[in-house]
């Protein structure tokens, strides 16, 4: 469990729970132990709202923001989400809110072309809030359904950048749209710092869900267990590769099973 990045606190708590049940004679043979643990973990992940929030009755575009640390997979995940939403028949506008990273706009533009989404970009170094604002205004004037706002990767320890992100979220709604999802993108290889990230990003932008990326690798992404159970932030999507189709809804059962696979 530790090897899966669940963390000492979570592991201890789960095993304690198991110990209690053994003491109470709830579980009597060793083969039932693992089964009981899996069931317990799956149960703790049950009942979360995992759908992506899209309010069709709005009349103004829904805005979904991608946030997270550098290299987590925000832009690639945004592209995958765009492709999915377009397949559902929705019109999608991408807002290139990463105005810091070299060629970030070009990267997103490539995805816009590949997926058929529209895109609004700013100059490199432009104020990310105004790019997102422009994106929303443009989408609204064209009666589009969804704005997907990319943001620059940032470490939660950088106060200035976190303030900037707060502003992006605030300003996004000043335009004619409403933010219905703030998705925190977390790399499955992330260790215990993932919980700190979630806490800080949630405080700054009211994160509504997690996209757990790179789950096609050997890492199990166990840190999201703590993010869900301690912070109540549901994992909504998982990224399983670099192509635009490599996105799936989060399945708690599959996730728990994979933790015990070796």
């Amino acid at each position: 469990m530790l090897r899966a990045d669940l963390g000492v606190k979570v592991t201890t708590a789960l095993l304690e729970s198991l110990r209690e049940r053994v003491k109470r004679r709830d579980i009597s043979d060793s083969s039932a132990l693992v089964q009981a643990l899996r069931a317990d973990m799956t149960a703790r992940l049950a009942g979360a709202r995992r759908g992506l929030d899209f309010d069709a009755a709005r009349g103004t575009p829904n805005i979904w923001m991608m946030v997270g640390v550098n290299g987590a997979g925000k832009t690639t995940s945004l592209a995958k989400i765009a492709a999915q939403q377009i397949a559902l028949g929705r019109s999608v506008m991408m807002a290139a809110g990463d105005t810091f990273r070299a060629a970030a706009g070009e990267q997103l533009e490539t995805w816009a072309t590949r997926t058929g989404a529209s895109i609004v970009r700013g100059a490199e170094g432009a104020d990310p809030s105004s790019v997102v604002f422009d994106g929303v205004q443009s989408a609204a004037s064209r009666g589009m359904d969804l704005v997907l706002a990319d943001t620059a990767g940032r470490l939660q320890t950088n106060t200035n950048l976190m303030d900037e992100l707060r502003k992006v979220r605030r300003v996004a709604e000043k335009a004619a749209g409403v933010v219905t999802e703030v998705l925190l993108v977390i790399d499955a290889t992330t260790g215990q710092n993932g919980l700190v990230q979630a806490r800080q990003f949630a405080e700054a932008t009211q994160v509504t869900g997690v996209v757990l990326t790179k789950l096609d690798g050997s890492a199990k992404g166990g840190i999201v267990f703590a993010i869900e159970t301690e912070l109540g932030i549901p994992v909504k999507l998982v990224g399983l590769g670099e192509t635009v189709d490599d996105l799936a809804p989060f399945d708690p059962q599959q996730f728990v099973d994979a933790l015990f696979d070796e």
């Binding site: 530790l2 990273r101 490539t110 290889t189 992330t190 700190v196 890492a219």
Partner: protein, 431 residues
């Protein structure tokens, strides 16, 4: 922030009786807390086991120095062991007799290869070399474009060609020879260690350009899986050194230890930010303290340097450590500290302060209130808070728009903080 090691050990020490030598039981109890600390720092489970087994051997039966309590003794051994594990030989870059000296960048997606490649190029340039960058990541949209923009920023040429990454790398090498560049840095696509096809590809790139140095770029926030990744890349490529990225975050960085244990090669560089100049030699001693959760006084001083003048920073740190820190000093530092990041993180870096902070519930609102309270004090009151009697408290509360309880709390907590800082003045890791 997780409980600091000092906090944990404080609890353990309380229970131990002071004997002349460390018994097995003593050592096991202390190591138990250290195990938790290392796991919380993301050090791989197996690596933790191995490291602690070695330390246990060294510690049991050791005479307890008169200056330290048993826990401190073991921590000192652990700290020294971690420094030795993380350090050892530094990577001294030497150059190929037939230029160019080729450097290959490898690692997982998003680890920081491209940014590090540019930083490395800038570093070589500073060493008086003529580097060239090759964009052999043809997978990620606009990856080559990114490298070109960075290359332009630092005045280093960037070569790329569409088609096949192996061929691109080979052509890059030819180009470097043709135009007389003496260092060639090849950026490659991020890849999963378990992706056989992609690992084959990077092996082919390596075979094509015969790098003198192959660097594995590892994200400092990587968890347990760092071991699997390091092993796989090392088997395929024979890594010469590791570049640890995103160290400007607050991840404890245990992955560094795991990777070092597995690969056995030096951690050559530390990347500490998104800007090109955020690139430096790796410091094993600072990393050891950070992983252990001892609080990284050196990082604090360094960060403070960016905001303060250098002597001011040392003065501040010294004042903190010797307990001569007054409320006035605190007010001054609060202004500066705010710039360094969330207060909780910054002060949490000091050993032992973590626990105090939990009670204080430090937040940035609290900072504003605290500032207001201190400003309502006279200079005398700030120098010597013991003179603050009832009527003064009322005046201060009125003046700052707070309650008398808030003033009381600040004065009390500050006094306790001073005491604590003074205590830890002796426990700070020596340089």
């Amino acid at each position: 922030m997780f409980e600091s090691l000092s906090d944990r050990l404080g609890a353990v020490v309380g229970k131990l009786r002071n004997r002349g030598r460390l018994s097995e039981a003593d050592v096991d109890e202390i190591l138990g807390e250290i195990r938790t600390a290392l796991l919380e720092a993301d050090v791989n489970v197996t690596v933790v086991r191995n490291v602690l087994a070695r330390i246990r051997e060294k510690s049991v039966g050791e005479a307890i120095s008169k200056a330290l309590d048993p826990a401190q003794q073991v921590v000192k051994t652990v700290h020294a062991e971690l420094i030795a594990l993380l350090g050892g030989e530094t990577l001294k870059i030497t150059y190929a007799s037939q230029p160019p000296t080729v450097v290959l960048m490898a690692g997982l997606q998003g680890s920081g290869k491209t940014t590090s490649a540019a930083k490395l190029a800038a570093w070589f340039k500073k060493q008086g070399r003529q580097p060239m960058l090759v964009g052999a990541d043809l997978q990620r949209p606009a990856a080559v474009e990114q490298l070109k923009v960075l290359g332009a920023q630092i005045g280093v040429p960037v070569f790329s060609a569409p088609g096949d990454p192996v061929e691109t790398a080979r052509l890059g090498l030819e180009e470097a020879r043709r135009v007389g560049r003496n260092v060639l840095i090849v950026d490659t696509a991020g890849r999963l260690a378990i992706d056989e096809e992609m690992m084959q590809q990077v092996r082919q790139i390596s075979d094509a350009v015969q790098p003198r140095y192959t660097f594995l770029v590892v994200d400092a926030m990587t968890g347990q899986d760092a071991v699997t990744v390091a092993e796989a890349f090392n088997t395929t490529l024979a890594i010469d050194g590791v570049i640890l990225s995103k160290l400007d975050g607050d991840a404890r960085g245990g992955a560094a230890l795991s990777v070092k244990e597995v690969i056995g090669k030096p951690i050559a560089f530390a990347a500490t930010g998104e800007k090109i100049d955020a690139f430096e030699q790796f410091h094993p001693d600072r990393m050891a303290g950070r992983i252990l959760g001892m609080g990284d006084m050196l990082t604090l001083i360094e960060q403070a340097e960016q905001v303060f003048e250098k002597d001011e920073a040392e003065k501040a740190a010294k004042k903190l450590a010797t307990g001569k820190f007054t409320l006035d000093d605190f007010l001054e530092q609060l202004q500066q500290l705010k710039k360094m990041g969330p207060l909780q993180n910054v002060l949490g870096m000091l050993p032992g302060v973590g626990a105090q902070l939990k009670d204080a519930e430090v937040s940035d609102d609290q900072v504003r209130r605290t500032e207001a309270i201190i400003r309502s004090m006279t200079l005398e009151e700030r120098e010597d808070p013991s003179i603050i009697n009832g009527s003064r408290r009322t005046r201060i509360a009125k003046g700052s728009g707070t309650q008398v309880q808030d003033v009381n709390r600040l004065v009390k907590q500050f006094a306790e903080m001073q005491k604590m800082m003074k205590r830890f003045g002796g426990r700070l890791p020596s340089r």
